[in-house]
Symmetry: C2
């Protein structure tokens, strides 16, 4: 039921901001980021009215956004979180796998997390996500603590209609490169 | 109507082959390519049965596939074609724009075209697509002729369940780099 409950008919306000930001990035030629539609399987079509009469949500979605900025492939998921830690309940194993595979292929994979209580935004690298998510049993955790979020990867909230995450994504890319050396 | 008519409930056999190929690429760690679901807007949900009672196909889809192979962002669309030229009727302006923008961001964008009559497969670079598509009125053409397809970008049909397009995509990437120098 939790899967179902998290699916609304509309995206969240956070997603709206990201969609507008991505449109702006595209206009300015900074990046091209595609929102991946929720996979829906149409079963019955009303040919006369040209509508779908019956359809199912498909379980296996991967990430919310995928694209490219200046030659760098990126993919990310947007998560909103009212607590002092990011709960795993809203993160699916195949999403983490997808991000890890994307990372292995030389792309940048991360979460953009909105802590509504602090009104703060962070980029959470797939490495940190995987570290917590894949060892949740050993660690006895059901969430990623706020303290695991790197302040250097905080996205400044300028309060407008956009969330300018691109500079922080580039910074993350540079940090990865420096570590690889 | 043409948009509607081209939307089936199931993907084409060509798409099935590409989906299986992409799965195989992922298993082998060669590439991670995401099939973009057809954008469908759910309007009414049956909470009891957990199904969608009413939904619409959204017009603005972009490309069929997007992903990354060894650090290179790629996106492509699959087209099947029974004639001796690829008709424009099945190609939408925003698809061409998306591919051009993707190319500008340093990614590889192309069509994978199946000429069913010849049982031949080609990679058609976005440059060639745009050249014909954007000048269709001047050229008085409603399709891209078979002769415009570069034999060097033909994908060998090994007759199996897969279409191994990756080597040709890499070749295309190298051709682009050589031209840019």
């Amino acid at each position: 039921m939790s899967y179902w409950a998290t699916r609304g008919l509309r995206g969240s306000a956070f997603e709206e901001v990201l969609n507008m930001t991505n449109e702006q990035y595209r206009k300015e030629g900074l990046a091209l980021i595609q929102k991946i539609p929720t996979p829906i399987k149409p079963i019955e079509i009303d040919q006369e009215k040209r509508t779908i009469k019956l359809a199912y949500f498909e379980q296996k979605s991967t990430v919310d956004y995928i694209g490219v900025m200046g030659g760098i492939p990126i993919c990310f998921d947007a998560k909103e979180c009212g607590k002092k830690s990011l709960p795993f309940s809203n993160i699916h194993p195949h999403q983490v796998e997808f991000m890890q595979d994307f990372d292995l292929q030389g792309g940048l994979a991360f979460l953009l997390v909105h802590f509504t209580e602090y009104q703060e935004y962070y980029l959470l690298p797939v490495e940190t996500l995987a570290e917590y998510y894949l060892h949740k049993e050993e660690k006895g955790r059901s969430s990623i603590p706020y303290s695991a979020f790197n302040k250097e990867l905080m996205i400044p909230d300028t309060g407008g209609a956009y969330l300018n995450y691109l500079a922080v994504a580039l910074k993350y890319g540079k940090m990865k490169k420096a570590l690889a050396k």
